[in-house]
C-alpha cells in the first residue's frame, strides 16, 4: 500500500500483524481517541516482607522465567556508558534463549557487542528510537531476522499501550535504589538524571528488574520508579562507565558554521511572532541546536522576555537558564550531563517527566503539544521539508528518531537547523533517503546559505522577510547545493525491508531497505 508521502508500505509484517500507512500528521490523532485497544497493565502479588533482593543479574533473569520469543526492554539513559544491556543480553544468550525481541528506548555505540547475538538468532527483532554504529550497519545489511521498528519517544509509549511492544522483562538501570525497588537516576556515583523513558516499562512489563550500583537504605528518595511496580532488585558493581554516562557540563559549540546557523535561527525565532512572554522552548543537545539557546538567552535578556517552560533532553545550559530565571520550569525526560542530575535532585522547578507526558500523542496532553518553539537537527531534508534523522548518505542506519517527529508535530514553530551540505554530501535534497518527520510539521529550515519557510506558512515568511532575514525558496537552495556538490551516486538497495519507520501515531511513514554489499 502507498502512504500519503508516496512510500510503498507492506500490508503486514510477521509478528506485527497488519500495518497502517501514514495518512498525515494529524489524521489519526484528530479523532480524539486511539483506535487500537489498550492492553491491560499486568498485576502481581507479593507476600508481606517478601524480599526482592537477588544476588546476581543471572538470578534475577532466571526468576523471570525467560523463554524463547520473549521481549526484554531497557532505557538508554546511560547513553554511551551503558554496561547493563550487553551483559543481560549475553546472559540470555548463554541460557540458550532464542528469538528475543529487544525493546530499548534507544541504542548507542555501547551496544555494538550485541551484533553477534543478532547474527546467531538470539535477537531476532528490535524496537528502538535510535540505532547507530556497528549495530546500524549490521541491520542495514540484513543481519536481523525481522525488520527493526524505529519509533519516536512518544510513539514508544503508544506501542507499549497497544501491545505492539509487549514487555516480558524490563531491566531498569538506576544510580540509586532501595531494597524494595524505589529508584532514581538523580543521585549516586553514576547519576544520570531523569529516568523518564523507563516509566512506561515499569508500569507495563510483566517482570521488572531494578539494577543499581548504589543500594541505599529504604526509602530511596525521590523515587522515579516506585516499588509497587518492581519485582526484583539487583546490586551490581557498576551500571556503566561514569565518564561516558554523564560528565561535567555541556559546552556550546565553537564551530563557526554551527554558531552562524544558530544565530540565524535565533533571529528567525525572535521575529516569528512566538518570541514573547510565556514562551515554551525546546532545543537539542548538539551542534547548532544548543547554540540557538545561547542566542535566545541573550535576546530574552535584552528584550526582558520571561519564558514559561523548557522541555526535553536537558543540558546544563538549560539548567543555567532555569536558575537565571529566564524560564519558570524545566521538564526533563532525559538528562545529558552531570550538572543536570544535581539540579534535578535539588531544584523543585526542575521536574522529571515520563516519556508519555513528554510526547505520547494518545493522552490528554503531552508537553510537546504545548510547545511554542522547537529547534531540531537533520541528517537530510528535502524540498517538501520532510526530514531524515535515521539513515546516512550511504543508506545505513546511523541516527535516532528520538523526539523529532513528536516535537515537530506539537510545536507552534518547528525550526530545523543544519548545513546545506557536509563535506561534499548534500543535506538539502530533492528527496531524503528516509522520512522520519513529515514536512507538514516543519516550518523553517535554517542553513548557512539562508533560511527557507514552508509555503504553508506565508505569514511567517512575510514576518521573516520584513525583519531583513535571508529567506529563500527551498528548491532554489537545493539546486545551488547540487551545483556545489554534484549529483550523489544513487544508493543501491535490495528488495528486502530491514526497517520500518513508525510515525508517532503508529502508522508507517517509511521503510528502510537492505543496502547492497559493495562488491
Amino acid at each position: 500500500m502507498i502512504n500519503k508521502l508516496g512510500k510503498n508500505i507492506p500490508e503486514q509484517v510477521d509478528g506485527l500483524g497488519k500495518l497502517q500507512a501514514f495518512q498525515g500528521a494529524f489524521e489519526k490523532i484528530k479523532k480524539g481517541v486511539m483506535e487500537e485497544p489498550t492492553v491491560p497493565a499486568p498485576n502481581r502479588a507479593k507476600m508481606p516482607h517478601q524480599s526482592k533482593l537477588v544476588d546476581t543479574l543471572k538470578e534475577a533473569i532466571e526468576k523471570c522465567n525467560p523463554k524463547d520469543g520473549l521481549t526484554i526492554s531497557f532505557h538508554h539513559h546511560l547513553r554511551g556508558g551503558d554496561e547493563v544491556l550487553v551483559p543481560v543480553m549475553n546472559l540470555l544468550a548463554n541460557m540458550g534463549i532464542k528469538d528475543i525481541t529487544l525493546a530499548s528506548s534507544s541504542l548507542t555505540g555501547a551496544h555494538d557487542p550485541v551484533v553477534p547475538l543478532i547474527e546467531n538468532g538470539t535477537i531476532t527483532r528490535i524496537f528502538s528510537s535510535g540505532i547507530r554504529n556497528e549495530l546500524g550497519k549490521a541491520i542495514s545489511h540484513g543481519k536481523l531476522k525481522h525488520p527493526v521498528v524505529i519509533h519516536s519517544h512518544g510513539g514508544r509509549v503508544r506501542d507499549v499501550h497497544t501491545g505492539r511492544i509487549s514487555v516480558d522483562i524490563a531491566v531498569i538501570a538506576t544510580s540509586a535504589a532501595d531494597c524494595e525497588g524505589n529508584a532514581t537516576g538523580s543521585h549516586g556515583p553514576s547519576a544520570f538524571g531523569s529516568l523518564g523513558y523507563a516509566a512506561i516499562d515499569a508500569r507495563y512489563a510483566k517482570n521488572v528488574i531494578v539494577v543499581t550500583d548504589n543500594l541505599v537504605d529504604f526509602p530511596c528518595l525521590p523515587p522515579s520508579i516506585t516499588q509497587n511496580f518492581v519485582d526484583h532488585v539487583v546490586k551490581v558493581d557498576s551500571i556503566g562507565d561514569a565518564k561516558k554516562i554523564a560528565t561535567g557540563t555541556t559546552r556550546i559549540t565553537k564551530s563557526p558554521m554551527d554558531l552562524h546557523i544558530a544565530k540565524v535561527a535565533s533571529d528567525a525565532i525572535v521575529n516569528s511572532g512566538y518570541f514573547k512572554n510565556g514562551i515554551s522552548f525546546q532545543v537539542g543537545a548538539g551542534g547548532a541546536s544548543l547554540a540557538v539557546a545561547r542566542f535566545i538567552r541573550e535576546e530574552m535578556k535584552k528584550k526582558e522576555i520571561k519564558g514559561s517552560y523548557l522541555l526535553g533532553g536537558v543540558t546544563s545550559y538549560l539548567v543555567d537558564m532555569l536558575e537565571e530565571g529566564f524560564f519558570d520550569a524545566l521538564f526533563d525526560v532525559q538528562s545529558f550531563d552531570a550538572a543536570v542530575s544535581r539540579s534535578l535532585y535539588e531544584n523543585n522547578n526542575h521536574v522529571e517527566i515520563s516519556g508519555g507526558m513528554y510526547a505520547n500523542p494518545y493522552n490528554c496532553g503531552c508537553l510537546t503539544n504545548k510547545l511554542d518553539v522547537v529547534v531540531l537537527g537533520a541528517l537530510e531534508i528535502d524540498t517538501d521539508f520532510n526530514v531524515n534523522v535515521i539513515t546516512g548518505s550511504d543508506g545505513e542506519i546511523r541516527g535516532a528518531s528520538g523526539g523529532h517527529s513528536d516535537t515537530a508535530a506539537g510545536a507552534n514553530l518547528t525550526v530545523v537547523v543544519c548545513p546545506s551540505f557536509r563535506g561534499r554530501i548534500p543535506i538539502v535534497k530533492k528527496q531524503v533517503n528516509t522520512i522520519v518527520t513529515p514536512g507538514e510539521t516543519v516550518d523553517i529550515l535554517v542553513t548557512e546559505r539562508g533560511l527557507c519557510v514552508n509555503p504553508a506558512k506565508p505569514e511567517l515568511e512575510k514576518n521573516l522577510k520584513e525583519a531583513g532575514l535571508w529567506v529563500r525558496d527551498i528548491k532554489e537552495l537545493e539546486e545551488e547545493v547540487r551545483g556545489i556538490c554534484g549529483e550523489p551516486k544513487k544508493i543501491e538497495y535490495t528488495d528486502k525491508i530491514v526497517g520500518l519507520v513508525e510515525y508517532r501515531d503508529g502508522s508507517i511513514i517509511d521503510v528502510i531497505y537492505e543496502v547492497k554489499n559493495k562488491e
Binding site: P256, L259, H260
Partner: protein
C-alpha cells in the same frame, strides 16, 4: 573601483587558499569581504595547489554579496607572477598586494596586471588593488602609495609583519604600530579610500577584539581583517552606527531633501548649518546602517 564603490568593508575574512571547505563556505558568515589567501596562510610546497583551488573556487562558487579579494604573493617571490597569470583573468573584485613598500612596487604590479588584462581583452578599471603596508619603509611611503593609482582603493596594514620588520615585540595594546596605523589612516583619508586594520589574533578573546575595533574605528579605520568567522559579528557591530547616529543622519538627510525641493543652497538643522562634509557623513552613516536612501524621497 573606488569612485563607484558603495560596498562596505567593515570585515574582511581571511581564508587559507589551500582549504577547500573554508573557501566554499567563506562567504556565508556575514563578512563584507572574503580574502582568499595565497600568501602567508599557504605553505611553500602548496602554493601551486592553492592557486589552482582559488582559481576554481572564484570561477564556480556564488559569493553572494561578498566582495572577493585575493591576496597574492609578492611579485619578487617565485610565486607572484604565476598568481597574477591565474587570478587577473578572473577579475575578482580586488587583489591584495602584500609588503607594498614604494610606488615602484605598485607600478611594477599594475603594469603586469594591465599587460595580462590586455591579453585577455579586459578593462583596467574593474578590479581594484589593496596595498598592504607591512614594513617601516612602506609606512614612510604610504602617502605616495595611496595616491599613485585610482586602482588602489584601500590601504591595509599587516601588524604581524610590521612588528617583525620593526624588530619589536607585539604587545596587546599594539603600541608599536600605533604610529603606522595613524599614518595609514591619514594617507587613506587624504585620498578618500578605505583603510583596513590588521587582524586580532586571539580568536577566543571577544572582549579584546571589541576593544581594539572600537579603538581603530575611533582613529579612522573603515574596517578590519578577521581570521575567524566568529569575529565577524563583533567587528560588524562596532562599525554599525548607533541609533543616535542614525537618527541624526536621517534628520540631516531629510533636511537636505527638503532644502533641495525648496531650492535652498544651505540649510540648518537644530540651529547648526549643514554643509557638504556634514551631508557626506550623514550619507555614510545611513549607508553603513543599510538604510535605503530612496526611502527618504
Amino acid at each position: 573601483m573606488a569612485q563607484n564603490r558603495t560596498r562596505k568593508r567593515r570585515t574582511m575574512l581571511y581564508i587559507p587558499g589551500n582549504n577547500p571547505g573554508m573557501l566554499q563556505q567563506g562567504s556565508v558568515y556575514g563578512a563584507d569581504s572574503v580574502l582568499l589567501d595565497l600568501e602567508d596562510a599557504v605553505a611553500l610546497n602548496q602554493k601551486d595547489a592553492a592557486r589552482t583551488l582559488v582559481r576554481n573556487i572564484v570561477k564556480s562558487i556564488n559569493f553572494y554579496n561578498c566582495e572577493v579579494t585575493v591576496r597574492l604573493n609578492h611579485t619578487d617571490t617565485p610565486f607572484g607572477d604565476a598568481d597574477l597569470e591565474e587570478i587577473v583573468p578572473l577579475q575578482p573584485d580586488a587583489v591584495r598586494f602584500p609588503k607594498t613598500e614604494s610606488v615602484e612596487d605598485l607600478k611594477k604590479l599594475i603594469d603586469r596586471i594591465e599587460e595580462i588584462e590586455n591579453k585577455h581583452n579586459l578593462p583596467h578599471d574593474k578590479m581594484s588593488i589593496h596595498a598592504m603596508i607591512e614594513t617601516a619603509k612602506g609606512v614612510r611611503n604610504v602617502f605616495e602609495i595611496a595616491e599613485y593609482s585610482k586602482r588602489v582603493d584601500a590601504i591595509t596594514i599587516g601588524g604581524q609583519d610590521l612588528t617583525a620588520d620593526m624588530n619589536i615585540v607585539k604587545t596587546k595594546d599594539n603600541a608599536g604600530i600605533d604610529y603606522a596605523r595613524k599614518q595609514i589612516v591619514m594617507a587613506a583619508k587624504a585620498n578618500r579610500i578605505d583603510c583596513i586594520d590588521t587582524v586580532y589574533a586571539d580568536v577566543d578573546d571577544d572582549e579584546g577584539l571589541k576593544e581594539e575595533t572600537l579603538y581603530i574605528k575611533k582613529i579612522g579605520f573603515t574596517g578590519k581583517a578577521v581570521i575567524n568567522p566568529r569575529q565577524i559579528d563583533i567587528v560588524n557591530n562596532v562599525f554599525m552606527p548607533t541609533e543616535a547616529e542614525i537618527r541624526k543622519a536621517a534628520k540631516v538627510y531629510r533636511g537636505w531633501i527638503d532644502a533641495k525641493r525648496r531650492n535652498l543652497g544651505v540649510f540648518a538643522i537644530d540651529g547648526k548649518m549643514v554643509d557638504a562634509p556634514v551631508m557626506a557623513r550623514a550619507k555614510y552613516v545611513l549607508d553603513m546602517a543599510e538604510i535605503d536612501l530612496s526611502s527618504f524621497e
